[in-house]
Symmetry: D2
Subunit: 356 residues, 4 copies
Amino acid sequence: MSGQWGKKVKYSIFGESHGRGIGITIDGLPPGIKLDMDFINGEMQRRAPGRDEFSTKRFEGDKVEILSGYFNGYTTGTPLCGVIFNENQNSKDYDKLKNLARPGHADFTGKVKYSGFNDYRGGGHFSGRITAPLVFAGAVAKQILFDKGIVIGSHILSIGNVFDNYFDGVNLKIQTLADVLRKDFPVLDDLKGKEMKNIILKAKEETDSVGGIIEGSILNLPCGLGEPFFDSLESNLAQLLFSVPAVKGVEFGMGFEITKIRGSKANDVPYISEEKVLTKTNNNGGINGGISNGMPVIFRVAMKPTPSIAKTQNTIDMATGENSEISVIGRHDPCIVLRALPVIEACAAMSILDFI
Amino acid sequence: MSGQWGKKVKYSIFGESHGRGIGITIDGLPPGIKLDMDFINGEMQRRAPGRDEFSTKRFEGDKVEILSGYFNGYTTGTPLCGVIFNENQNSKDYDKLKNLARPGHADFTGKVKYSGFNDYRGGGHFSGRITAPLVFAGAVAKQILFDKGIVIGSHILSIGNVFDNYFDGVNLKIQTLADVLRKDFPVLDDLKGKEMKNIILKAKEETDSVGGIIEGSILNLPCGLGEPFFDSLESNLAQLLFSVPAVKGVEFGMGFEITKIRGSKANDVPYISEEKVLTKTNNNGGINGGISNGMPVIFRVAMKPTPSIAKTQNTIDMATGENSEISVIGRHDPCIVLRALPVIEACAAMSILDFI
Amino acid sequence: MSGQWGKKVKYSIFGESHGRGIGITIDGLPPGIKLDMDFINGEMQRRAPGRDEFSTKRFEGDKVEILSGYFNGYTTGTPLCGVIFNENQNSKDYDKLKNLARPGHADFTGKVKYSGFNDYRGGGHFSGRITAPLVFAGAVAKQILFDKGIVIGSHILSIGNVFDNYFDGVNLKIQTLADVLRKDFPVLDDLKGKEMKNIILKAKEETDSVGGIIEGSILNLPCGLGEPFFDSLESNLAQLLFSVPAVKGVEFGMGFEITKIRGSKANDVPYISEEKVLTKTNNNGGINGGISNGMPVIFRVAMKPTPSIAKTQNTIDMATGENSEISVIGRHDPCIVLRALPVIEACAAMSILDFI
Amino acid sequence: MSGQWGKKVKYSIFGESHGRGIGITIDGLPPGIKLDMDFINGEMQRRAPGRDEFSTKRFEGDKVEILSGYFNGYTTGTPLCGVIFNENQNSKDYDKLKNLARPGHADFTGKVKYSGFNDYRGGGHFSGRITAPLVFAGAVAKQILFDKGIVIGSHILSIGNVFDNYFDGVNLKIQTLADVLRKDFPVLDDLKGKEMKNIILKAKEETDSVGGIIEGSILNLPCGLGEPFFDSLESNLAQLLFSVPAVKGVEFGMGFEITKIRGSKANDVPYISEEKVLTKTNNNGGINGGISNGMPVIFRVAMKPTPSIAKTQNTIDMATGENSEISVIGRHDPCIVLRALPVIEACAAMSILDFI
């Protein structure tokens, strides 16, 4: 029962990494939206591996075929199902590993949960590949939001110990998001970006991996979105963000750092300027009482280092019940943070679309 | 549409701080559970103010009256509604502030969202008081889980810049949770606890406030709970945690720190011991691929400093549209972290009960 | 998990006939609705027994107390909880029957489902009394719909074998609904009404009961409400109607009779008149493809005769597992159809409000 | 937002009659079910047209391709998506009708609802063709239920004015259901069946159509399934049944006829026989208080005559806003009742699976 989410617009995701196809059904889109297929394909490209010198060389062929809900270039308003048919999946890579639990992965938990019947190839339904349909749905959502003036963007805040500058939560402009989006390595400070790339290369050489933090932002959100308690903006968005494999932390505004300062400093003081209500600071990340206040929504997502590494690791053999060793030979990303940017943005878009 | 949550057990929360009553309906409890009213009242007491030298002196009278779903000492299996009737609410405290937006609160966002019709007194439906019914529901859930051997506990990890020791994610024992629960100020290292209390007192004297981090744990969770993607254990629990007012960050296992180390270090290596599968480390907080692996689930919640402070702050007058000042005279908690422990635990209990 | 329903506006119902209180939480109402308490009380009165010479003499005291979501005469937009505290419940009436399954009731099925822990008094959570909170919620919904020009009304179509005239599905006017609402015995043809009353009286004298059919209507529904498949207008409304105890059949338009005629006769031919699209006939009851077409929505609900009768009946003793006899001495309605009119209308109102 | 349904097992349906594909995602199936593809194909065949002398000659090619959730012959427990790719769709048949509203169809309501963007070809998302994925999902559900001893079956109760015998609600045996399933024209009394076929042929010759009633049954349901109020067995099943195009009425047990008899006659008297609780009659259709009592569940569904007929009918031109005429030339079924049997059974299976 994991594949469904949403209230106004409902999503149903499906697929295994090595099954026939992965996809998502989007139910509740308004009719008459002229889908910008170039934009959607561009978002899929941001996620696909093989574009840069870090990622795996495998080509995943992320072409989405729309089976329904789309006619003559416009959404019909009926459920829209987009499918990515799997090609170029080298299933043999995974045969030998069938009974060995790859540390950090869901091999063991998945085997227990599904009584051994899960498709283990490439991580099956747990594979990061299943984020591809998410990006597709997010692209559609982003387009609809953009038409309403709402813009979503992100950058790599950190890789390992190297940190980029933070977004300016008070003055963040759409132009900044557009500029960083255009870069191959989306950071604000390119020098820091260079350091980050070195860290990734080093990890790759050492058959290891690194993680990082993504900082996201939503601009021009109207005031008043979100509900107190169970459907606060943070609750809704965090639920989606934590759905993404490898996410281990989510924070808004100052996040965990806000716990270290006084209330008098933390409170964002409101003032009126040109008939708009703004706040002098934005430590709350644009959200008060679970509801948007019109200031930029700022959030951060912690992504752990890729679990699949070629380095030999101890593990267990789930068939024999004995301790063993594993070396995940094959095609690995030393760092998925770059590819995760459109996935994180997709979550933000889906979340906001559920409130608008 | 904020008040409903849950799949197997469904909750519906209602109430304003100064309305007739606040409460929650719990729908889907198994029949025949002998509710331990002493335990439930104890949990309500942990949350209530006025117990220690820091909190506000106001007495909130958190006696829960059960209107349905409970007969002859046992749950009936039909919807159980628990209500706390409001007494001792000094509404006059809030009259003068009606049009002034208290910084850090939802006064402005709430007014926009509800077109000015929200009950503003004491924060209305946004009040931290509405966490009382949550604690009640959590107490019922905890009792049911405890009967299955699952134990939930927490401690104050930090207040301001002072940090307690962290839970040992590999070896955490129930006894540790029981010990810390018994303390008036639940920390592992009492010397640190003393420092923290000083920080709170100082803030109180300066009519200011401080925040902190709560670390929670769930022990003896069976392996296999949670679903990949939209209903992962992290997604489900984070959605509830972010529903609690003042929460600005949630992380699992090493959380944000995991982004700074290599994959070879981050991966929790599984091994078999006495026919159980354990991991040598627990950086993932007991969750892989959104599914519990049997190790302790460890998570952390960032709570911002209480927004209500007597210090004068700038703000806006929502009626006139002009800048103004506000001093929230009245009864304030300089720090709500201590009182939030049972609320955070309640979220964890409700979340797990939805999977068992 | 029975108590929750709704998408845009979510309801959560609770209560046992002899518990402390029965009620409903309504989550998602727009803020700023000035509740017409006279109207709401009037609807509660239509449902309450003791008003006419047929019904039971017990007085149920259906005064709704609003605990939240309502401030200074207006809805706040936050969850609104209405509770009816139980008084005047003679629990002793039911003690002797504790182990005897009253035929036609849910005594046996409820005991199995709830492992014997259900509150059996007066039918507990299965009692028709729990329709009182439904009427309250329906009254609120009706008021909101009325402000949008949408009117809901009904009449008793039949009692036993005596049938009133049917609503004119093409020309039905609001005035007709208003006229029939004003009557003590809401039928179109008062002579038929007199026959019906005789049937009810005779059943009462013979310590037996009768059932009947209610015909309902929704006027001025905009075209386009409802969704194909799982959330068609018929699906949505039928789900609510079948929630009402004693309902055993639901039909729309010609209903079961439409199966006996040809397609050329059944099809409602559309035509344009004064820029509105109308149909010459209305055999489909105002709904095509699950979506409203602007014509009056006409539906019918079959209510079985009241199961509780003083006549001695065979049954089983659920404690001993032996066959036995039962005579349900006490206060019984020989016919609940009259009292069910506002309940049926409430379902219609709640259903439409979920689409508007 | 029409495509999603279910609580324990969640379904998401999509597709337009002339789009690329129609399908359904089933989320929540237990892992390890060995799908019987022969059985599933058999169910698809029961629904497909072209098998007998009445139906349309078009061949719809209902081969389901499973894209996910199915591995090595077993369900994986992850979301299972089945797609039927559209072939042999003669879109030209519908071009001329683009602006003419076919009476009885959703052309007009769909155009209004979807602002003219809906795929109008062949009825688009409103097409009866979309019941094919429902039959697939129902087949999977039936298989799971059958393994638990629960059997679902149906027969044509009536076509036009000709009625078959009714199911014996007290003594109905699995063998009866098996026997009727084997027939090309599933009725209990073959002589009546012959009369029915004549009625259909006559309608076909006169380019008209007829409707009928389907009677369904669920045997060996455990006692205790269903919830009082919003999720009663009747509510749940009726919601699905009314999702099927052309359904205009649903009743349980005696249905509308129960309104004509006395309570003393309507009540099903329970008695104990061989340690099982049975009832002497079964006027309530196996359901008391919304909960199954162990007796056969009996229900009936009214299906209106097929709206698409070649006979010329008056209508409106939705583009010009003028009255017009239409003759739906092409391939029409004079009666869809026979083909609807597996669809109705699918609804029953999906409903029960949601409770088990």
